[in-house]
């Protein structure tokens, strides 16, 4: 077990951001074998930081690819579009040749929800440009202009705050739930409860409600502190954030109950805490985006409920989205909570 943890940790901690989904719009009219834009794009393609989902060429111009790309960024389907205009190669050549004209411009329209990602994208473009121009060029005739769709002025703390809220809610509800259940078990109060007219479902629901509220209160404190001390942005509706926390907290409570009722004794139950907490901590995008999780571990990320809680809260707080847009994440959390609560009620019943 500790071995698995250290391995995951080693692979994720400080790992490079990779496989960022982007689209490229290349309207450069230079012939293909001379096009600098083409060269940069193929250079980007050989590197693994960006995953180019689609390249729009001049023949796609009638589609208005920039608008389409921007829309995709707005929908958070992709992190950015990288746009090369018609005169890209020409501009670059002109400025490199006689220093006249405007510098060639790579336009980046990016989702600024996570500053690290925007940073990674523009760094990668710069690296690709340097590779194409070769080391000889000491004047780089190309510049990048970045245009943020969301998170204008977002700092790392803005990205971080929803993650911390999710993580804190998880820690308190999951751990409290495991510990209270162990306590109910070892002091036999559970036995006593089970001989009253209260059903297993009611016991679980009662706990879920209580711990959902605990998570809620905690999150309110975190939000208020973060706003007061760090002036974090909350673009969307904070109540939707709290709703997410409540459902997520209830789900974690169910998971805690379930795991500790599956455990033979309290020592086993306690071991579930790091077993669940560690992958959540590392793989859910609390500290670094999912894009920094190595590809082979990323499927695990999609099984970690915290991933959805954090993503949902970020969308609300930074992108300003409402329930209408974050419903997929919310639905995952509701399903998670539902399954966990049902299973834990069932496992309580099975204990007899």
């Amino acid at each position: 077990m500790p071995l698995i943890m250290i391995t995951i940790f080693g692979y994720t901690f400080g790992g490079d951001v990779k496989n960022i989904d982007v689209c490229v719009v290349n309207l450069d009219q230079a012939p293909a074998n001379q096009s600098m834009a083409g060269a940069i794009i193929s250079e980007l393609g050989t590197r693994d930081t960006l995953d180019i989902v689609r390249v729009y060429s001049p023949s796609d111009a009638y589609l208005d690819p920039v608008a389409i790309g921007r829309e995709k960024v707005e929908d958070a389907d992709i992190w950015a579009i990288i746009f090369f205009n018609e005169t890209f190669t020409q501009d670059a050549a002109a400025i490199a040749g006689d220093g006249t004209g405007q510098s060639a411009l790579v336009r980046l329209i990016a989702d600024g929800t996570n500053p690290n990602i925007v940073q990674a994208i523009s760094n990668d473009i710069l690296t690709a440009i340097r590779a194409v121009l070769g080391t000889s060029a000491f004047v780089v005739p190309i510049s990048i202009s970045t245009d943020l769709v969301y998170g204008e002025g977002a700092r790392f703390i803005d990205f971080f705050a929803p993650g911390v809220m999710g993580l804190a809610a998880m820690m308190v509800t999951f751990m409290l739930s495991i510990i209270s259940f162990i306590h109910e078990r070892t002091t036999s109060t559970l036995d006593r409860l089970l001989t009253t007219p209260v059903t297993e479902g009611e016991i679980v629901a009662g706990y879920a409600l209580a711990f959902g509220l605990v998570g809620l209160v905690q999150s309110i404190v975190i939000i208020l502190t973060a706003v007061a001390l760090f002036e974090i942005q909350i673009v969307g509706n904070p109540f939707t954030v709290l709703l997410i926390i409540f459902v997520f907290g209830a789900g974690n409570q169910g998971m805690g109950f379930l795991l500790s009722s599956l455990a033979k004794n309290e020592f086993q139950a306690i071991q579930f805490i790091p077993l669940i907490l560690f992958p959540s901590l590392l793989l859910s995008g609390v500290f670094w985006p999912i894009e920094a999780v190595p590809a082979f571990l990323r499927p695990v990320s999609y099984f970690v409920p915290l991933t959805y809680a954090v993503e949902g809260m970020r969308s609300i707080m930074i992108r300003g989205w409402g329930m209408g847009s974050i419903w997929p994440e919310f639905a995952v959390l509701v399903i998670f909570a539902g399954i966990m609560l049902l299973l834990s009620a069932y496992s309580l019943r099975k204990r007899r």
Binding site: T187, R192, T195
Partner: protein, 259 residues
């Protein structure tokens, strides 16, 4: 000293033949892996009786009670409580259970514990207050009503646990060693209360290691290695074994069944 029901032994036994048994088991059995904790137990307890289970540590008393209150699934055999097959559901609020362990919330006060259990039985406020006063008197903790359970002595915790089991005034109450660690004076009080319960037609099924308590029961079941090796009124048991106390009666019975 003869028990409350001692003199009417034969009549009691006859009453047990009748229908309307509060508890009835047929070859009830519980195995933990290769250990047989309760071995084909046949029990019959009629209404309004004080039934005492005695037997050494590990003889299966707690296991038998846990099956009756629905906390353990029998490996084999049948058990009925209040005419319903265990685990009972419909009649669950008509029974009370005091586990052998403390089983109360240490971070709540005595009052809060009692109130919690009254709520779980959906008792109304007025009734709760009346019952609370009554029970606090029985367990002699009226002056410690608002003390945290964690700050009570062992015996006091035990008394609180008993009160929680009796809060909703159940028709039949299963008490697993209710008088352990309770001082002699208070135990006398408890027995008065048990007699009172009995007078009100309630059934008490309890385990005990105190023979002076067992003789006060109407019926005593002697458990050994998961089996019921003898059952009857204390008088009968002593007569059967030609002994003058239950302790020796138990020894003789145990020798008789061998092992």
């Amino acid at each position: 000293m003869s028990g409350a029901g001692g003199g009417k032994g034969t009549k009691m036994t006859r009453m047990l033949e009748g229908a309307g048994d509060i508890v009835r088991t047929h070859r009830l059995r519980k195995e933990f892996e290769d250990l047989v904790a309760v071995d084909d137990l046949d029990l019959k307890v009629g209404p309004g009786l004080l039934y005492g289970m005695i037997g050494p540590n590990g003889s299966g008393k707690t296991t038998a009670i846990k099956m009756l209150v629905g906390l353990l699934r029998p490996t084999a055999g049948k058990a009925y409580v209040l005419g319903e097959k265990v685990p009972i559901v419909d009649n669950i609020s008509r029974i009370g259970y005091m586990p052998q362990e403390m089983a109360i919330y240490a971070d709540l006060t005595v009052h809060e514990n009692l109130e919690l259990f009254s709520r779980l039985y959906s008792m109304d406020r007025e009734l709760f207050e009346k019952r609370e006063r009554e029970l606090l008197k029985v367990i002699d903790l009226s002056d410690r009503r608002d003390a945290l359970v964690s700050q009570l002595s062992g015996g006091m915790k035990h008394r609180t646990s008993l009160a929680c089991a009796l809060m909703h005034d159940p028709e039949v109450v299963f008490l697993d060693e209710p008088t352990v660690g309770v001082d002699p004076e208070l135990r006398v009080g408890f027995w008065k209360y048990f007699a009172d319960l009995k007078a009100r037609g309630k059934t008490v099924i309890m385990t005990t290691h105190y023979m002076d308590e067992a003789v006060r029961c109407d019926l005593v079941g002697m458990m050994r290695l998961g089996r019921l090796i003898g059952e009857g009124t204390p008088k009968e048991l002593m007569a059967m074994t030609s002994t003058s106390d239950l302790e020796s009666a138990f020894m003789t019975m145990a020798r008789k069944v061998g092992t």
